[in-house]
């Protein structure tokens, strides 16, 4: 019998192609393409000088390229793309196989069931990273040079951002892999978590916000939040937080969430009985 690790790698091999060419990838490509379209549009607009990026009302100001990039990383990638991909893919790791009736072929092999989940989770990580991270790089090179920004100076921040997105995909993916393995209606539960629970609890004083992933991810965002009015409005609209914990606390907390939820997902798949729908 294959060891847990080797079995997971083989399930990963089997799942990666299936996942990359699935219908969901079309959706993911659109999601990843959205900010690239915005970046290219901004670039064209800035080059033609037809549009001046100003805030209103109040004194006129212009966001620099790095600020715009930072805004897009937080507003689009971290608060939308990462959790949404986590929900859509994470909850589907087992649910898809159950719904399609193909889980039997995997569960009837002499490998630990948990390895199946881990293999598929690894495929999810690679699949989403391969599509999302290049999109971030394209946005970076399109947006950062605008309005006097320097590509070279901001490069370390790009690397951190890429790492941050990777961490976000890993943690959300693990959390929703557990939800998908455990619940019968994982999609709705996942959506309620990221768009119902997280935005609310981070506004509640006390420890409630500690029960979210977004709170810790925010603590790792390296970009200094501009203090101008539009940014404040946006921050308010996006329900971000003022007092973020230290980076190491955030990383530790995310590591704990990742380990606990992935472990719980593995245990669930090991022990739970799945009755196929067809």
């Amino acid at each position: 019998m294959l060891s847990f690790g080797r079995a997971a790698v083989r399930v990963f091999d089997l799942s990666l192609g299936e996942m990359l060419w699935s219908r969901r990838t079309v959706f993911m490509a659109v999601v990843a393409g959205g900010p690239m379209v915005i970046a290219v549009a901004l670039r064209i607009a800035a080059t033609s000088a037809a549009v001046r990026l100003t805030g209103s009302p109040g004194p006129s100001f212009a966001l620099g390229g790095p600020d715009i990039f930072g805004l897009m990383i937080w507003a689009f990638y971290l608060r939308f793309t990462v959790p949404v991909l986590g929900v859509f893919y994470g909850t589907s790791l087992i649910a898809d196989e159950v719904e399609d009736g193909t889980l039997t072929y995997l569960f009837s092999r002499p490998i630990p069931r948990g390895a199946i989940l881990v293999g598929k989770y690894l495929a999810y990580l690679v699949c989403t990273s391969v599509v999302v991270l290049p999109s971030v790089v394209v946005v970076y090179f399109s947006v950062v040079p605008l309005f006097g920004g320097s590509v070279g100076a901001g490069f370390p921040s790009l690397v951190v951002d890429l790492g941050l997105i990777g961490v976000g995909l890993a943690v959300y993916g693990a959390a929703f892999a557990f939800v998908g393995a455990r619940l019968r209606r994982p999609l709705l539960s996942g959506l309620l978590f990221i768009f119902g629970w997280e935005p609310v609890v981070v506004l509640v004083p006390g420890y409630m916000k500690n029960l979210s992933v977004a709170y810790y991810l925010q603590g790792l965002v390296p970009h200094a939040a501009p203090q101008d009015e539009p940014m404040t409005l946006l921050r308010s609209a996006l329900q971000t937080f003022d007092a973020a914990p230290a980076a190491w606390v955030c990383l530790l907390a995310l590591a704990v969430i990742w380990a606990v939820t992935l472990g719980a997902a593995v245990l669930t798949v090991e022990r739970r009985e799945y009755v196929l729908e067809r």
Partner: protein
Amino acid sequence: MGIHDQSYRRYAGPRTEPGAAWSVIAWSGIRALLSRRLFLLVLLFAWSQFVVRAVVFYLSANFPSMELIAPSAQTFRDFFDQQDFFVFVVTVYAGAGLIANDRRANALQIYLAKPLTRAEYVAGKAGVLVVFLLLVTWAPAMLLLVLQTMFAGSLAFVRENVFLVPAMTVFALLEVLAATFAMLALSSLSTSARFAGMLYAGAILFTTAIFQTVRGVTGSSAASWISFSANLAQVGDVVFGIAPRHDTPWGISLLIVVGLIGVSLVVLRWRVRGVEVVT
């Protein structure tokens, strides 16, 4: 002694008039959803805002010191705004599988082999969603208006805001029809209810995220036409007679909402077929 014919006899009783078959589909869908406890729980939660506002209405009507929180036309507009979340949840929960599940079970061809037109089938499926969405938007809003009158013991508020009844009805219908047909169209594109739900949620959330990003970068809400939710909100403001919240002309927002319903109907016309001809 007479010998009775024991052979097969055709049904000779009354039949429903053609054109009413949609109601059979709608009722069966409604009953199926009502039998799910989780769905009842969602509906219950969807009425929580109603309960809170009813209490506020009572307090403001009976305690002069509470006049500050007395309802206005804006209150009803806000009510619809805050129900958006439940509209989203109910649409995904109740609507994602309406056609996808039939396609998965190859039931579409069985439906359409009956004396039932495609339009009736779609109307029946739409009926399910429309009923529940009105139940979380129009119904509680109208009931709130009735409660306000009863608590105040006067028709003054209704007389002053007589436009509220048509405004709430028109906006609720627009919102419900847009959500219903968009969800049905996406449901018809897939054999998986979960995937259809993902498509709908993705479309709503993605367009909103793009709009918010552009807004943050440009400092202007002129790109609100990108977002499905922002367009509805824009039209809603106009219907309730308040200043539109975004910089996009409301006519464009209305056009986009109506266009979305139109595109959804085209998709449904294309996808709802008993037999798929592969060329």
